[in-house]
């Protein structure tokens, strides 16, 4: 058996609902614990141990929510697009479930990034909002998420909703880099209204560790939500299949 074949085999096993259900069930508690620990490390580290910024005072501590959620907002869209592609090409239902549960949480991360950014922006720039490249792209990303969610909720046949929204996610994914670069380029042309302090390369270790652990915690939290969603969704979708019947009778 070649390596590629082995990979395929693994892939198919993972995609088999019963197998996935069990594995996910066993992983969940671990993920939950890890999320909580990392979250604690991040917040204690960020709120207590990290020094106050010499310029921004304690206000900067919102970074520990803002930056991870901003990172997640883009990451989750990528996950969603990849899974949509898998669903459209190979008709693997699990991918559709992942894409769907990603949408809402991705939109929430994006919203959180926008809100925390604005809150931070008020003391920083004296205004809640500027039409800075990164901020604008983030706003458009929120619209893309909302479009995806809107389309999904407007179609009440689950199978069709998955395919239609999948097409949308892919078209959106092709567009994201284009949108991003057009906005960046537009901004440099215009001379941004006020100097954005988003690009701040120098960062101390005592700030970096809590930041990274928060980022990891956000990722795990996302994974947790997706797995929980997928499990209940799988039961729902496969309720007539043999393994669900066995599962129900065994309990």
């Amino acid at each position: 058996m070649s390596k590629v074949d082995k990979l395929w085999l693994w892939f198919h096993r993972m995609a088999s609902p019963a197998y996935f259900y069990n594995i996910a069930g066993r992983l969940l508690p671990w993920i939950a614990v890890a999320t909580i620990i990392l979250m604690l490390v991040g917040s204690v580290g960020g709120l207590v141990y990290a020094p106050a910024d010499y310029q921004q005072g304690d206000g900067f501590r919102i970074i520990y929510v803002h930056v991870p959620s901003a990172w997640m907002s883009m990451f989750v869209y990528m996950v969603m697009a990849v899974n949509s592609a898998i669903f459209l090409i190979w008709h693997i239902k699990l991918s559709d479930i992942v894409a769907r549960s990603s949408a809402v949480i991705g939109a929430s991360f994006t919203f959180l990034a926008l809100v925390t950014g604005s809150i931070w922006g008020k003391p920083m720039w004296g205004t809640w909002w500027i039409w800075d490249a990164r901020l604008t792209s983030e706003l458009i990303l929120l619209f893309l998420y909302l479009g995806y969610i809107g389309l999904r909720s407007a179609i009440d046949d689950r199978r069709v909703a998955g395919r239609a929204a999948g097409i949308l996610a892919l078209v959106g994914a092709i567009n994201i880099p284009i949108i991003h670069y057009s906005v960046v380029w537009w901004n440099t042309l215009h001379q941004p209204a006020s100097v954005s302090k988003l690009d701040n390369p120098s960062i101390e270790l005592s700030m970096l560790i809590p930041l990274l652990s928060m980022a990891l915690a956000f990722k795990l939290f996302y994974l947790f939500i997706v797995l929980v969603n997928s499990r209940s969704e799988l039961l729902e979708q496969e309720k007539r299949s043999q393994w669900v019947k066995e599962l129900v009778t065994s309990q």
Binding site: I130, W131, T136, L146, S153, A154, H190
Partner: protein, 226 residues
């Protein structure tokens, strides 16, 4: 015969349909937000510029959102034949039509008004200007709905109704647009804006008293041919 019952039945039906299609409630608002945010991209992100064009842009966007949300006001009733049942009802058409427009306003006009302060912030408007903007929209948007509904009733039987509708309705929207955006501009210049708001109220009263009758007879005409 119970007028209140019929009115409520119509109102509840429409609210119910709207809430079933959850998207319908959010979408005109989102359209509003998206259209407003196109302008900084198309014109300039400079706060000074945005401050001057802000009130006008928000008013035009509100007007277009109302227009957009109205397009399907009677469409589905027309397509599935419910409009014939409404016209053949023993209750006065104006009553049922009023309920229909009211439901539409609750679902699309109101959220739009409520979100407008946020857009004011995005365009860097000051707080006291946002207040005036809010009041002017509160008075103006119901007028837009009512007058728009007349246009919809006239065009509902036609295929390319959307564009024709805007042609009919936008000229009627001009006075409200002028008074509304002017009130805000005056406020920005620390001038009095009570006159404009009074005009808006007057237009609103006229529209809501005469509107339902005009709409119901327009509907009758639209249904009398195929």
């Amino acid at each position: 015969m119970n007028y209140r019952n019929a009115f409520m039945a119509m109102l509840i039906r429409d609210l119910r349909i709207a809430f079933r299609q959850r998207a319908e409630i959010m979408l005109p608002v989102i359209f509003f937000v998206v259209v407003v945010s196109l302008f900084p991209l198309a014109i300039s992100p400079d706060p000074a510029v945005l401050k001057t064009i802000g009130p006008g842009v928000i008013w035009v966007a509100a007007l277009l959102s109302v227009l957009m949300s109205l397009q399907n006001l009677f469409r589905s009733d027309f397509d599935d034949g419910a409009i014939e049942q409404i016209l053949l009802s023993p209750y006065p058409g104006a009553l049922l039509v009023l309920a229909r427009v009211l439901a539409q306003w609750c679902v699309t006009g109101l959220p739009l008004i409520l979100i407008s302060p946020l857009l004011g912030l995005l365009l860097h408007l000051d707080f006291h200007i946002i207040k005036v903007l809010f009041v002017s929209l509160l008075l103006g948007v119901p007028y837009l709905s009512m007058v728009g509904a007349i246009g919809v009733a006239l065009t509902v039987g036609l295929r390319q109704a959307g564009a024709l509708l805007s042609l009919l309705v936008l000229p009627l929207y001009v006075p409200v647009l002028i008074f509304g955006s002017n009130a805000v501009v005056s406020a920005a210049k620390d001038m009095s804006y009570n006159g404009q708001l009074l005009w808006l109220s007057a237009l609103l009263v006229i529209a809501t008293t005469l509107g339902p009758f005009v709409i119901s007879s327009a509907l009758k005409v639209s249904c009398s041919y195929r």
